[in-house]
Subunit: 332 residues, 2 copies
């Protein structure tokens, strides 16, 4: 049996975020639903970029943010995703490796650029994303390092991958590999509209046995096509062993074997940018879970990481989450 | 005579900043003097990047930051600098145009990349820069839009341009054009080590009649090869009509026709990143000066802009400086 070398391995889109501020009117003008992630093509992203204000660039990607967060907690982490041999590919690769994440997928040189997301942040701190997938659509089964997956306690997958037909086979192969090796599997639903696009496949996957399901309120309600969070949570409880549901300022709930653990939020002086809130929540939870901490402690680590990430621009931790967690007495 | 269309036109290196955090030991390892700007070649910047931590990318460049600041105050601004036809060139062009700056220099496609600076920020917020000039060394006299210079109340030049022999001719041609058109000329000394490299040429230029000289304490002391700020200020007073000297936390001094106006600093809750402090100080002063405000008001606008920029990462304003100045009752 393969030795465990990683706490968590994530598979997702390797994205560089281009983050700018805008008002609500601009979102309407662009025609994107506030708080959502929308896929755009090369022409559309160019058009939005040319009309938006100044921006900063920073590594992103949902599962990639989570994995960088696990590493920031001191966890052993690995990432699988595809970058092009270009400037953004070098930025993404540098940023994730420099925090200690194992990232070995060779970059691709076929003229398609590295994925990017134009993230529009409104004055309330809410982020709205326009993502051009670019080379991320290149994620194929052949790129998976199965040995790395076998060597990871938890395999973490982002639901966004379902927007790429080619990536689905890789997604399923990764799940199968982890299960066969006796590892835990985790899935985040990523986005309410994404759930809407792939509801049946998500449900089938979850019922076939994803060990840990992450979803926010709009995603879990979309999954079960209900307006009631409690009803959706009830359904999630019956479909999964461990459902971790986040509700923004209302905190989060961990549903495990009939038990519900409620986790509060950590105070934040100003919500600057919500980009990565769910990703970093997952980071804290997965780090705690992989290290055998109590579910409530894992939930508090999750909540702490989310509070750090929304207090500044960008979805990668600005401070060491390990030190932050120590300061809060959550880890020693 | 050409109509005045711009308050300020700046000429400088068009740079994308790559900003990361590090400790003092890392600076020693890299071998760079804290607080300075050092020129590095393509191999060296690659080496430093591969050993530094995660970073964010944001448009920079000293004069470019100043010009973006003038625009943020509501001033009419233009910029001349060279970018390559690459990802960083598109980022730089987007960011400066999106704040309303006229920037029309065509990008260059000769394989040399857009300039970049690896900026290392220590825990005290001080920034240390490792700049790879790339395509910026391409700034030549032929690229100057002389009509734009004639149409600007003030021509603002960064001293960093003196590190490029080819750019010096453009620098002098721009000065001559502005003077002939009866415009004001302004120069920032940029960096103590830069002054050391080009002291005699800077002195000759200043004595030949630069209208406004900007320098910080280390730069003005380097210019006059003295350890005494007061002695250096005395010399600057005799060499220039208007010398604007900044002293970080000690505030700044405006020396004009024998008079000295002292400007205090605005309170900052935390000095996050000093990158751009001098650049934004110059922005506030130039905006005020070009709009005929009292020198003390110009100095306070300068100080306000500097306080905004050091309170967050990156050298471009995170808020509208016009609104900020209104909130402080400095402009109506």
């Amino acid at each position: 049996m393969t030795d465990l070398r990683y706490d968590v391995i994530g598979i997702g889109n390797a994205i560089v975020d281009i983050i700018g501020r805008c008002d609500e009117a601009f979102l309407a003008e662009v025609g994107v639903a506030k708080g959502s992630m929308r896929l755009v093509d090369a022409d559309e992203i160019k058009k939005i970029y040319s009309s938006m204000g100044p921006a900063i660039e920073t590594s992103g990607g949902s599962a990639a943010n989570t994995i960088a967060g696990v590493a920031s907690f001191g966890g052993r982490a690995a990432f699988i995703g595809t970058v092009a041999d270009d400037e953004f590919g070098r930025i993404f690769s540098h940023d994730i490796r420099s925090v200690g994440v194992a990232f070995n997928v060779p970059s691709v040189s076929n003229g398609t650029p590295t994925s990017r997301s134009l993230i529009l942040v409104t004055p309330d701190g809410e982020r709205t994303m326009n993502t051009y997938l670019g080379i991320s659509t290149n994620l194929i089964e052949a790129q998976l390092d199965l040995e790395m997956i076998q060597a990871s306690s938890i395999l973490y997958l982002e639901g966004y991958l379902f927007d790429q037909p080619q990536a689905k086979a890789a997604f399923r192969a990764a799940l199968q590999t982890a299960k066969t090796a006796g590892r835990k599997t985790a899935l985040t639903l990523s986005d309410g509209f994404c759930v809407d696009r792939h509801r049946d496949e998500f449900l089938a996957l979850i019922r076939a046995g994803v060990d840990i399901l992450f979803a926010n309120e709009s995603e879990i309600k979309s999954l079960y096509q209900t307006e009631s969070f409690d009803f959706a949570a009830e359904k999630a409880r019956s479909d999964t062993k461990l459902a971790v549901l986040t509700r923004s300022a209302k905190g989060s709930e961990i549903h495990f074997e009939g038990e519900t653990i409620r986790i509060g939020t950590f105070p934040v002086s100003e919500v600057v940018d919500t980009t990565g809130a769910g990703d970093l929540y997952a980071a804290g939870f997965l780090f705690g879970y992989a290290n055998g901490l109590h579910l409530e402690t894992a939930g508090r680590l999750a909540s702490l990481a989310a509070s750090e990430i929304i207090s500044h621009t960008g979805a990668r931790p600005a401070v060491s989450l390990q030190e932050l967690a120590r300061q809060h007495g959550l880890i020693s």
